[in-house]
Amino acid sequence: MSDIAVRVENLSKQYSLGTRGTNLTLREAISSSLRTPLKWFNTRSNSNARKFWALDDVSFEIKHGEAVGIIGHNGAGKSTILKILSRITKPTRGRVELFGRAGSLLEVGTGFHTELTGRENIYLNGAILGMSRREIDRKFDEIVAFSGVERFLDTPVKHYSSGMHVRLAFSVAAHLEPEILIIDEVLAVGDAEFQKKCLGKMNEIAGGGRTVLFVSHNQDAVARLCQRAILLESGRLILDGSTEEVFSQYLSSIDRLSVELPLDPAMVMADGGVAWKFDLSRFPIAGDSHGSPYQSKVIVLENGKRLGPPHTFHETIRQHGMGAYSHWGTYLYFSSSDNTDPRSNGRAYIVKLDQLSQE
């Protein structure tokens, strides 16, 4: 017997975009199968569909008791790997072996029903996450104490505040005790105090000799839990090493991410300025939807040249009549006050996230 807990070999997952995946109607399926009867037998290999590899030949091993962080930009394949490891979806190629009981937390509160009481939801959610009734019975008091909702145990969850809801959900999930724990960014839930409690609980789990796979953008959280990390990019494994090493590569790779603004603005402001919809989800920090502790800086480039020093999102940039506008950088705003049309000469404006720094 080896000391390997998770073995991932040449794992690949292909998704098709477009034709399949969206829900066909039966009529369409029947008529298309009548037109080309043979195709019916291999609808899965429909060649019209655009395909892409969400995971491409990824291999790694994790030893028992090891905590490993999985890091990558949005769309790098982190969620896909989690989904395969937690058996929600099957790989297209390759193979995974799990030695030990695996449990996954991809989202807190899965299966919570708002009409049911807190007590009922603990049992239901516990069962959905794979706990037995006896196990829930045994941990019930602990779960309730951790969540801090004792007084509302017999109240339907729909009357809970969102904070209470999330605390109870996390509490159930945190008491799941598999040998291999697969966690998506569920850490930062609730208020600051509860977040601290969550992190503490996670440390306890990771420290308790359990194998943990943890996906997060939160460097601090990953560093605290994991000594080792894996960096994914476009479905490929780029780096497998110590957390510091991987994060430094990850942070430097952010510089390569950029958003090119289209020539037509999303809207024209009242003062004649123009604003672009600025898709922040393209940037890795945006995935941390729970409120990132990072301060993000933006630089505006013109034909590859930096226009002035980097600027934080919230402050208005005055140089060259440009402004980062709206909260959390949803819109990039170019004011007309300086008589500079940002679109003159059809120049491409590229917005880059320059660096991440802890506040």
Partner: protein, 287 residues
């Protein structure tokens, strides 16, 4: 029952669970062991369905009685009194109520299980468990209503002085056949519904049509001899005749008919299981 809990394995030996995740290939066999492992989830989900059904209704569980009772009254007036359909010597109300009981269980289980996967989208895309649990649980959830409505039937039997014979011992078999029929269709339709949302619209028509093809308002002896075998392909014919035979002592039209329909159900059930297993791998990606 002490140590069957899967979680005890964690304490005993950590190497016991070994899971291999590979691309789907060919026909997947039904993993009964795994299904058994998840039996508690099955009951929790059925329990949730039962619990939620009459939440925030003024009449609560009384609906379980009211539905068949009101249908019985309407049927008795229209088909019993006005159309004067023969009920073969049995008082019409109890004649039709005995049929409505398994029918409503069947119709409920069929509808519920057909829509079950779509209604559980968030579970399917977030947690792993054998997906078969979902239609199974929603089929089971109907049994509670049946049990409540059955008490009313016992009351009616007392009122009409109908004493059941030993044939009543066969009742669970017919009940099982009704559930299995619903499940057989439900598994097929739920697996189809993941890709084809048409199922939502097909089901109401299907149940309505099916009800007319089942001897609920009338006796199966009304069907011409020549059509009996074809008619017998409908498993609910066998179930309803079986109920009337076991509870009211009515003649069963032909035991062969029930045998035929049981085989039909079994074939549908098994093919449904295989189809379901085949499609299961894609549920999370497609739904």
């Amino acid at each position: 029952m002490e140590n069957i809990s899967p979680n005890s394995s964690r304490v005993v030996a950590s190497s016991e669970a070994h899971i291999v995740i590979e691309p789907p290939r060919g026909w997947a066999a039904l993993d009964l062991k795994e299904l058994w492992h998840y039996r508690e989830l099955l009951f929790f989900l059925a329990w949730r369905d039962i619990k939620l059904r009459y939440k925030q209704t003024a009449l609560g569980a009384a609906w379980a009685i009211l539905q068949p009772l009101l249908t019985m009254i309407i049927f008795s007036i229209i088909f019993g009194e006005l159309a004067k359909l023969p009920s073969n010597g049995i008082p019409y109300p109890i004649f039709t109520y005995t049929a409505l009981l398994p029918w409503q269980l069947f119709a409920f289980a069929l509808t519920n299980s057909s829509n079950s996967l779509i209604n559980s989208q968030n579970l399917i895309s977030k947690v792993y468990f054998p997906r078969l649990i979902i239609p199974l649980a929603s089929t089971l959830a109907g049994v509670m209503d049946f049990a409540i409505a059955f008490l009313v039937l016992l009351g009616m039997m007392a009122y009409y002085h109908i004493i059941p014979t030993l044939a009543i011992l066969y009742l669970p078999l017919f009940l099982l056949l009704a559930l299995l029929s619903a499940l057989a269709v439900g598994i097929w339709l739920s697996a189809l519904s993941v890709e084809y949302r048409d199922v939502r619209y097909i089901v109401p028509f299907l149940t309505q049509f099916w009800m007319y093809a089942t001897p609920i308002a009338y006796a199966s002896s009304l069907i011409p001899e020549a059509w009996r075998l074809l008619y017998g392909l409908n498993p609910m014919t066998g179930v309803v005749d079986g109920f009337r035979w076991a509870l009211l002592g009515m003649d069963i039209q032909s035991g062969l008919m029930i045998g035929v329909s049981a085989i039909v159900v079994l074939a549908m059930f098994i093919s449904g299981l295989y189809y379901f297993r085949q499609m299961e791998n894609n549920f999370a990606d497609v739904i």
